[in-house]
Structures are given as structure tokens and as C-alpha cells.
């Protein structure tokens, strides 16, 4: 599996972006991105030129939209235009169904940014009655996302949903409107694909994101693999614990800061990896600058999900630099209750 850096939230003059799709894709290539999702506000008209531009720049363009509605901004990926104008605040599941039926997936954009009248409709106010309908949440929005206070409750929401047993993918989105390098470093969403060429496949990219096969990073590349019972599991996979109740899974952690592509030249040093889970923080693994790999054993007792966060220094300040989606652990079978004596 290879991890392909994508930017999943972008705008062009087809809505209110200031760079053309061609300009953005050229800049994306310069930053080390290999794909973008075109998510103009309420239109997919920009896709007419996507085929030509991805051929000339080598940067894949996946169709999407940002439903810029009165009650929240919802990203769609992999679907053509879908209708949003007839939905009230309690109708979002009807809207989500439209996107799913068109072959796409949906995610909440910047759920906790300021709403109207400061930023109209920017704060998520739709009633969600079934969270399993949601495919992803933009947990990291904007430049230097881990430092933005409005992203903190988004992370809390995601944790809560994971703890409740939902498998919702976390993504990063720059909300890219222009190519000026303002506001620090963007985080990329690295998507796990079988082949590099798969980045041009709408279906494969959508499937990988839907599965949770991705991590978010402002620089370091992370590779996380779990092994249990002779099988390997990657991000988004669900470890089958049924034959290893109370056992341990082996985590292989690989990290490469030198290929950091979204960092725009800032020096990035990872100082520790943190294993986070439904049981809270499991452990911190100190990381040396010359280190590229570590193995770690984790008890699967009570474990439902586990993710890896890389913390370190950017411009000498300590910040979270990367965060994976979870590897999930299936619940052990509930033992049959003993038959009561009659």
C-alpha cells in the first residue's frame, strides 16, 4: 500500500476561489500533492476542465462539492451535482441519501467554525439522527489546523463518535481559495491506495476515504501496520480479535520526516508518537531524530479503536504534526449465557 497526499477541500472561480483549477493544480504539484478534490460551493461546473488539467499537471482531480447551505457546509466527494436547496435543518439525511445514491460520500466541513452572520452557514446546525450515515468529518480545517481552537471540539466530537462505535473517517482540508502562502502550513490527507495511479480513480479514492484508510499530516509520513494472528491490518481495518481474546497485537510504526511535503520548507522534528484509543492514551513513544521505525505491543483487552499521533516541533514550537485514522478492533463474541436449570 502507498500513501498518496491529497488536498480535499478546494475552491476556484467557479465559486469564490481566486486561482483557476490549472493554477491550483500546478501549485499543488509544487507542494508535493498528488491529488485534489474540487469542492466548489454549490456547483460542479469546474469539472469540465478537470480531465485536461490532470493530464497536463499529473495531479488527480476528484469531483466534489461543498454544499454551502444555511445550516452547515457539507462536503461531497465522488458524486456529480446533488441538490441541496430544498433541505431544512432536519432534512440532512435525505440530502445524504442523494449523495450516496449518486455514488459519493459526505463529510462535515469545519463543524465548529463561527456561524451567521460572521460566516453564513459555516457552523454545523443540521440535526443528525444517525451518525453512521456520515462518512467523514473535516477534523483538521485550515492552515496549521491543530492550532485552531475551532478544530478542538471537532476532534472531541470525532472521539465521542468513535467511542460510541461509529467508524467515521477524519480528514484534513485547507479550504484552499488562493495560492498565497499565508497562515503557515497546510495539512494533507494521505490516502492509502494500492497503486499510485489509483489516485485518478474516483471510486478507489472514495472507497479508501470511506474505509478510513488515511492519515492527516502537516509533514511527516506515517506508516502504521498492526499484526495479530498472522494477519496484517492497516488504517481503517478492523482487527479480528475473536481467537485472541486478551491477546496482544504488534504495531509496526514507521515515520519519515524528510519527505515532508506540505511543510513549505519549515523544519519539522518529530519528538514522540502517542497511541490514543477508546481507553484513553495508551502510551507515548519517544522518537529520536535519526529513528525511522519502532515496534510496539498493545493489549487488545477492551480495545475498540487505536490511532497514532505524531507530536513534534515546527519552527521550534511543539504541535501535533500528524494523526492517523484508527485501526479498529472487533468486539469479542459474547459468551452464551449458561442455561438456567429448570
Amino acid at each position: 500500500m502507498i500513501w498518496v497526499p491529497f488536498e480535499l477541500h478546494t475552491h476556484t472561480p467557479h465559486s469564490d476561489g481566486r486561482h483557476s483549477l490549472a493554477e491550483m493544480c500546478r501549485e499543488a504539484g509544487r507542494l508535493g500533492l498528488q491529488g485534489i478534490a474540487l469542492t466548489d460551493h454549490n456547483t460542479a461546473a469546474g469539472l469540465a476542465e478537470a480531465e485536461h488539467i490532470q493530464q497536463t499537471t499529473g495531479v488527480a482531480v476528484i469531483p466534489g462539492m461543498e454544499w454551502t447551505t444555511f445550516y452547515g457546509h457539507m462536503l461531497t466527494l465522488g458524486a456529480p451535482y446533488t441538490e441541496w436547496r430544498d433541505l431544512g435543518p432536519r432534512d440532512i439525511h435525505k440530502g445524504i441519501r442523494r449523495v450516496h445514491e449518486a455514488g459519493g460520500i459526505v463529510g462535515i466541513a469545519h463543524p465548529y467554525t463561527m456561524g451567521s452572520p460572521i460566516c453564513t452557514g459555516c457552523h454545523w446546525e443540521y440535526d443528525i439522527t444517525d451518525w453512521s450515515d456520515l462518512d467523514y468529518i473535516e477534523v483538521w480545517h485550515g492552515m496549521m489546523p491543530a492550532l485552531r481552537p475551532y478544530n478542538w471540539p471537532a476532534l472531541q466530537l470525532w472521539d465521542q463518535l468513535l467511542n460510541e462505535g461509529h467508524r467515521i473517517t477524519a480528514t484534513a482540508g485547507r479550504d484552499w481559495h488562493h495560492s498565497d502562502l499565508l497562515g503557515g502550513a497546510p495539512a494533507f490527507t494521505y490516502i492509502g491506495l494500492e497503486h499510485e495511479e489509483d489516485r485518478f480513480s474516483r471510486e478507489k479514492v472514495v472507497q479508501a476515504i470511506s474505509h478510513g484508510r488515511c492519515y492527516l499530516s502537516v509533514g511527516p509520513r506515517l506508516h502504521v501496520e498492526a499484526r495479530l494472528g498472522g494477519r496484517a491490518y492497516f488504517l481503517g481495518d478492523c482487527v479480528d480479535s475473536s481467537s485472541n481474546i486478551g491477546g496482544e497485537m504488534s504495531l509496526r510504526l514507521q515515520l519519515d520526516s524528510s519527505t515532508a511535503s506540505g511543510n513549505l520548507g519549515e523544519r519539522v522534528v518529530v519528538t514522540k508518537l502517542i497511541l490514543e484509543s477508546n481507553l484513553g492514551e495508551i502510551t507515548e513513544i519517544p522518537w529520536r531524530e535519526d529513528q525511522s521505525e519502532a515496534e510496539h505491543l498493545v493489549s487488545i483487552e477492551g480495545l475498540r479503536w487505536l490511532r497514532v499521533k505524531a507530536e513534534g516541533l515546527m519552527e521550534s514550537s511543539p504541535i501535533p504534526l500528524a494523526m492517523t485514522n484508527p485501526i479498529y478492533v472487533s468486539s469479542p463474541p459474547v459468551p452464551e449465557p449458561e442455561r438456567a436449570a429448570v
Binding site: 476556484t12 476561489g17 481566486r18 456547483t43 463561527m114 452572520p117 460572521i118 479550504d175 481559495h177 488562493h178
Partner: protein, 169 residues
């Protein structure tokens, strides 16, 4: 020859926020192009005291509890509050595009071969077309708008639309 199909205007108040106003008009023969002019005024709210009250209200509603006082103290960074109206178009068969952008004077064109950014080029079938004004936000006590639609215009001045991108979010 250029022919006016629709010329409407209206006055909105903050109560109009979060509503859609849809105009239907008959396009009775295949035109060479459709030309839409749309403007609204005012764009920004000038009254500082009224702005402060609205900004404080939004901060109390949306900001994390521990940040509310900090943000309220720096309320002027959210100035000026703005009205936001956007336009979208449906032909008799379905969606033809949307212009979600911030300038309060816009011009859009649709032709068979090309279209303004946000819209889809293609045949312009006769029948009932719909133009929707999405009232995302009206903060000022009143906001007036004007929408004029022509068919058959010869101008292909799409550049004027591009030049109007003064704002981004």
C-alpha cells in the same frame, strides 16, 4: 436580438435570511444566450453598534465557552458584517449552475459553447427556467435587490464576471 425576459426587484429584511426566492420565466424559443444581471445593496453593515450586538450574539452562540470573553473583546476583527445573496439557475431539465460568490454586482452568461464560471455551457432549451436567489444572510435593516434576465444577447464578455472576484471567504 436582445430581449428582456425578466426584470424584478425586491426588498429583504433580516427575516429573509435563510430563504430562497425563485423566479420562473418562460424561454419560448431556443435563444443564443441568456444574460443575467444581479445586484443588491447595501453589501456591508455600516452601523458599528448594531454590528457589535450581532457579533457578540454570534460569539456567545458559536464560540467555545472559554474563548467567549476574549473574542468579544476583539469583536471588531469580524467587521464589517455583510449581506450575502447568491444566484443559481435551473433550466427545464435541471440544474445549470450556481454563482456562490461575494460581490454584490454580478453578471452571468449562458451559451451553448461557454458559460460564466459556476454555470454549465450547453443548449438553452425552451420552457420554464428558474432563477433562485438564495438569501444566505441579511444583516442590514433592509436590503434591495434587482435581477434582470435577457435572452439572445451578443456579448461574450465573460471577463467582467472574473474581474468581479473581490472577496473570498
Amino acid at each position: 436580438m436582445k430581449k428582456q425576459l425578466l426584470a424584478v426587484e425586491g426588498t429583504l429584511t433580516p427575516l429573509s435570511s435563510k430563504s430562497h426566492i425563485t423566479y420562473s420565466c418562460l424561454v419560448d424559443e431556443d435563444p443564443a444566450s441568456l444574460d443575467m444581471e444581479f445586484r443588491y445593496t447595501p453589501k456591508v453593515m455600516e452601523d458599528p453598534e448594531a454590528s457589535r450586538l450581532l457579533i457578540w450574539e454570534a460569539i456567545e452562540k458559536y464560540e467555545a465557552a472559554e474563548l467567549v470573553e476574549l473574542r468579544k473583546a476583539e469583536w471588531e476583527r469580524y467587521m464589517p458584517l455583510q449581506n450575502l445573496l447568491t444566484l443559481s439557475v435551473d433550466d427545464p431539465h435541471g440544474f445549470r449552475g450556481s454563482a456562490h460568490r461575494h460581490p454584490s454586482e454580478q453578471r452571468h452568461m449562458l451559451c451553448e459553447q461557454e458559460a460564466s464560471p459556476g454555470f454549465l455551457a450547453g443548449p438553452l432549451p425552451s420552457g420554464i427556467w428558474k432563477i433562485t436567489i438564495s438569501v444566505h444572510c441579511v444583516v442590514t435593516p433592509e436590503c434591495t435587490y434587482q435581477l434582470i434576465v435577457h435572452k439572445g444577447g451578443q456579448s461574450r464578455d465573460l471577463g467582467s464576471v472574473r474581474a468581479a472576484h473581490a472577496y473570498t471567504t
